[in-house]
Symmetry: C2
Subunit: 273 residues, 2 copies
Amino acid sequence: MTGVHGRDWRPRYLQLAEELRAKIMSGELAPGTLMPSETELADTSGLSRTSVRNAIRQLREWGLVRAEQGRGTYVRAPRQRVRRRNTERYQWEKDRVLLDEAERLKTGAIEHDTGLTVDDLKFHAEYTRVDADEEMAAALQVEPGTPLLRRVYWTSSRHENPPLTLSYSYLPYDLVAANPDLLDESKEPWPGGTQHQLHTLGIELDRIDDVVRARPPSPDEAELLDIDPGVSVLTVRKTSVDTTGRVVEVADAVMPGDRTELVYSHKLQRWKT
Amino acid sequence: MTGVHGRDWRPRYLQLAEELRAKIMSGELAPGTLMPSETELADTSGLSRTSVRNAIRQLREWGLVRAEQGRGTYVRAPRQRVRRRNTERYQWEKDRVLLDEAERLKTGAIEHDTGLTVDDLKFHAEYTRVDADEEMAAALQVEPGTPLLRRVYWTSSRHENPPLTLSYSYLPYDLVAANPDLLDESKEPWPGGTQHQLHTLGIELDRIDDVVRARPPSPDEAELLDIDPGVSVLTVRKTSVDTTGRVVEVADAVMPGDRTELVYSHKLQRWKT
């Protein structure tokens, strides 16, 4: 891209935003740099103030710049990106369950998604016992009020504080209580993860369904994930069904939209020839 | 849910938002109704004005209410919801290609997702010839500047104007030009869709990859989709690869986050016993 072309089919503000993104990505505009003012950008690009403002808003939504009250807009340090390939991930997690512990200890699902190693990651888990509200009872196919184990996880890169993902997992409490180790948050991160934890209860998964949605972050989420309230979040509700057809876990993941992508691959059957 | 419980683990504003949602869903608060004021809601719920404001913001993000400048907040008419099950959809589309035209005419992919029939839908297609920019060239594995056929689609329910989805499809122009019918937008909606169009060129798909992201809408998208700028959009970049390993189509879909969910199912292989 060289300059804002009239022949380009994209809106002009987006062409400008993409030029600025290229400069940030190449390091020409380094982290910590004060961005040029709206007036300067309007002068150099020949675009209206409105288009320039929309371009800056776009950069904020991409998580590339941050507006600081009364001080201007700064280039942000690049954030750890996550590309989560759930199509392969779930079978990969299942295959790892039967490995010995030394193997399972080596790597977990987040490392799989980010290319980071165990030593690069900080991991936090918090367990509580709650009663199922109507919505979660329906999702888990239990009666409202049924005791649940609620597990909150967040994992971050050692090089930046905000988590890469927030995850809220729910399992029927009585199901899990058969193995008291599974009620103890200090055992986390559990080598082999949830599928291995379920295996200790004699449970094998048959199917995992993801329901993906997009929404703005709640005020708490924006703070926890350290994102601009103008950045969207991707949410995945993951429902795990065992080989007897029973729902054994429902987990909600919340991921910052400025640096997460979910990849789902579909291999198609050949036409008979 | 009856009342805002201290024991509930969700933030209070969300509990209030969910109570109000239940009233809207049940019809107790009908479309067109003026919502109670912040003061009234703070009085009846016992929550702070900040929590009440967050609850109303939440309802706007869910697309359930709309703020009208200087007039207050109104309950919206419920919008057509879309649950897109791409895991089954792509193989279903492929299987339909070999059916005769009468069968293919009966139903298309959007009907599959919404439960609406052909008569309930309005369909719009617009074809142009463009040159590949660097990003699209990389996605299609062609040289920048290669001529592309760009197809813009939007489909809406007859009962509401705003589209359920915006879709931007790109194919190498020379590939498609072998069948001049494929350059003619008046042939849309094409019975059997893109997979059938490709079939007329002797192309069979082997794989479709979806990359899912979340972001705020651009100003144009918010207007076209008739969503509050505070509603997020889900985007899917769909890459179709044929049986020779060539990328034959890249399509970007933009869907309103307040009424769209994407479902991906993963059947797992059994452990050998």
